[in-house]
């Protein structure tokens, strides 16, 4: 940090020249401090007996008490398992779907048709989970819902889809895909559009048909994007989607549907056990961080593509 006087004077001059830009940034710097860094500092309530008057730093020290409480809770094993199972299902089934959609759309030559399908596929992304769940309730109800009426036309008995453990995971994964497939395909469409057309020409000359071109040119072309998005998705493995699960999980499905996020929100905000809930949340964040770092490293070793 030792600078010559001339250098530091020049630096100060440059800062002064940019004073207006610091002024533009100032509210943002304060905002990020209050809404991001103060909560980060506040993570310590997980190690304290939080009281409102004591706040982040004044509440008495509790050590690992709340972590023990969580791991001794008879359902904690279930909750962790459910979180991982639901995230994995979403990842394994949900992740390839936008890629498949992008590949199929890419083969369409009629531009108007392609644009229409794309526009329609973005629609569910723009509505809230409340709307999605309300739609599902209405469409899937065994009492006069169109889906069950269709099934009935084929002679099937009405099915109780919601609040039913048998259908719970299908509903969770299905609604997740329905809501996000179009939106998530945007980035893959962009990656496909960025592939050098000469590669296709070369493949054609080598006698490759549609499928071989897809396999040898298109898929490798979107590989890097897919790896990056996969790393990010694995980093989120410990959060199974709290909005969706807050709304779709009920008493009937609790044993397979309780997840970490929802457990933290309910025990913290609803029951007021803030320190306990903060401990659950911290556990979740730390595992998430470890996951993302691990997958990032593996990806870098195997494929030379990594997030950071």
């Amino acid at each position: 940090m030792i600078k010559s006087r001339k250098e530091s004077r020049r630096w100060i001059k440059r800062v002064w020249q940019h004073k207006m830009f610091y002024f533009f940034m100032l509210p943002g710097l304060i905002w990020f401090f209050i809404f991001s860094y103060v909560p980060l500092y506040g993570i310590q309530v997980a190690f304290r007996d939080y009281t409102f008057s004591g706040g982040f730093t004044g509440s008495p020290w509790a050590g690992l008490k709340y972590f023990q409480q969580f791991f001794n809770y008879y359902q904690s094993g279930d909750i962790i398992r459910n979180t991982v199972v639901i995230s994995l299902l979403k990842l394994l089934i949900g992740f390839p779907m936008p890629i498949i959609l992008a590949l199929l759309l890419n083969e369409v030559r009629k531009i108007r048709f392609k644009k229409t399908i794309q526009t329609l596929s973005y629609l569910p992304y723009f509505v809230s989970w409340i709307v999605v769940v309300t739609l599902m309730q209405r469409l899937l109800t065994p009492y006069g819902g169109p889906v069950n009426e269709l099934l009935g036309a084929f002679g099937a008995d009405p099915i109780q889809f919601l609040n039913n453990p048998t259908w719970f995971y299908q509903i969770i994964v299905g609604s997740e895909i329905w809501k996000n497939i179009g939106w998530n395909s945007i980035i893959f469409m962009a990656a496909i559009a960025g592939i050098d057309q000469q590669l296709y020409e070369a493949a054609k000359i080598d006698g490759a048909g549609r499928y071989r071109q897809m396999w040898h040119v298109t898929l490798p072309g979107i590989r890097n994007v897919a790896i990056i998005l996969f790393i990010l998705a694995v980093g989120n493995l410990m959060s199974a989607g709290y909005e969706q699960l807050l709304l779709l999980n009920g008493p009937a499905t609790a044993s397979i549907g309780s997840v970490l996020d929802v457990h933290a929100i309910n025990s913290g905000i609803r029951e007021g056990r803030l320190s306990y809930a903060a401990a659950v949340g911290l556990f979740q964040s730390v595992i998430g961080l470890i996951l993302i770092l691990t997958v990032n490293r593996i990806a870098r070793k195997i494929s030379d593509v990594s997030l950071f």
């Binding site: 630096w11 830009f21 533009f24 943002g28 103060v38 723009f126 309300t134």
Partner: protein, 298 residues
């Protein structure tokens, strides 16, 4: 064109048509349901068009004081929240787009760091409590003032504006703020539209804050109202419908006209979804670009 390709083509078009149908059909269905007489709808068998057309459901929804209030809250937070978010993020992005700004990479890292490791709900909630934002209208606004990804998207866009434009404006005697207002802003239409859509939709769709940070009934937005109706409505409509479908006098008891909680709920849903449906297709060109920048830089 060989034969195998045309088989593929047929399958592909069929598949994609089904996808498109699956995306739009639920909305067609609730539109039909909301335009149909509530009691009549309980017999089921409504698919694309209302059977017994009525505007009664909408009339009752618009007549409901609580729904009006909630709609006002949603509109207010969306308009105010979007305006503030876009203004503040753009100012910050403009500063960060200056390559000559001392400390630029430090500030970028400063706003990036919280995206890798978040504190979780509870410390955030406690912060809101300490700021005395809980149970006020401002709990909808303040937490959504900035967003790292949005700042980066705007910054990337601004960096594409030729610097000569600014230089010549500076020679004409414009100050930094004037350049921002008269040169930068008018050229940023597409990216501002994109970010407005993103944040506007986030405000419009947020039910969580209303459900967990607010208990005052006058401050509940529409989405939270819908959420409160979820569980009530399901139980109610199922039992009504069960009664309607069983019991010999089915036709007699359901043939009366009038709205039901379920038909009102569908009307409310249509009103909630409609504004978004009208806006997003027109911004498609822009937000597709925004998503690309966001993911490349992220």
């Amino acid at each position: 064109m060989n034969r195998r390709w045309s088989v593929f083509s047929v399958v592909n078009y069929t598949l994609l048509t089904l996808v498109g149908f699956a995306m739009i059909y639920p909305f067609i269905y609730i539109l039909a349901y909301s335009l149909n007489d509530g009691k009549d709808s309980m017999q089921g068998a409504i698919y694309f068009l209302p059977r017994k057309f009525t505007l009664e459901n909408y009339a009752q929804v618009f007549d409901n004081a609580r729904i009006w209030k909630a709609y006002q809250i949603t509109l207010m937070r969306t308009v105010l929240g979007t305006f503030l978010h876009v203004t503040l993020c753009t100012l910050m992005a403009y500063a960060l787009s200056k390559r000559t700004l001392p400390g630029r990479s430090f500030f970028t890292f400063y706003i990036f760091l919280p995206t890798i490791f978040s504190a979780g709900f509870i410390p955030f909630f406690i912060t809101l409590q300490k700021l005395q934002l809980i149970n006020t209208f401002w709990v909808y606004i303040f937490p959504l003032l900035y967003n790292f990804m949005h700042i980066i998207i705007i910054r990337t866009f601004l960096q594409g504006i030729p610097e000569e434009l600014e230089e010549s404006a500076r020679i004409d005697g414009y100050g930094d703020f004037q350049i921002f207002l008269k040169i930068i802003l008018p050229l940023s239409g597409p990216v501002l539209a994109t970010i407005s859509l993103f944040i506007g939709v986030a405000h419009w769709n947020d039910w969580f804050a209303g459900a967990y940070y607010v208990s005052n009934k006058d401050l509940i937005p529409v989405q939270t109202l819908l959420q409160e109706m979820l569980s009530e409505a399901e139980a109610l409509s199922n039992s009504m419908q069960r009664a309607a479908q069983q019991g010999g006098q089915t036709v007699g008891s359901v043939s009366g006209a009038g709205a039901t909680p379920e038909s009102l709920r569908m009307a409310l849903l249509v009103i909630t979804v409609f504004p978004i449906l009208c806006i997003y297709p027109f911004l498609q060109r822009y937000f597709v670009k925004g998503v690309m920048i966001g993911s490349v830089k992220g």
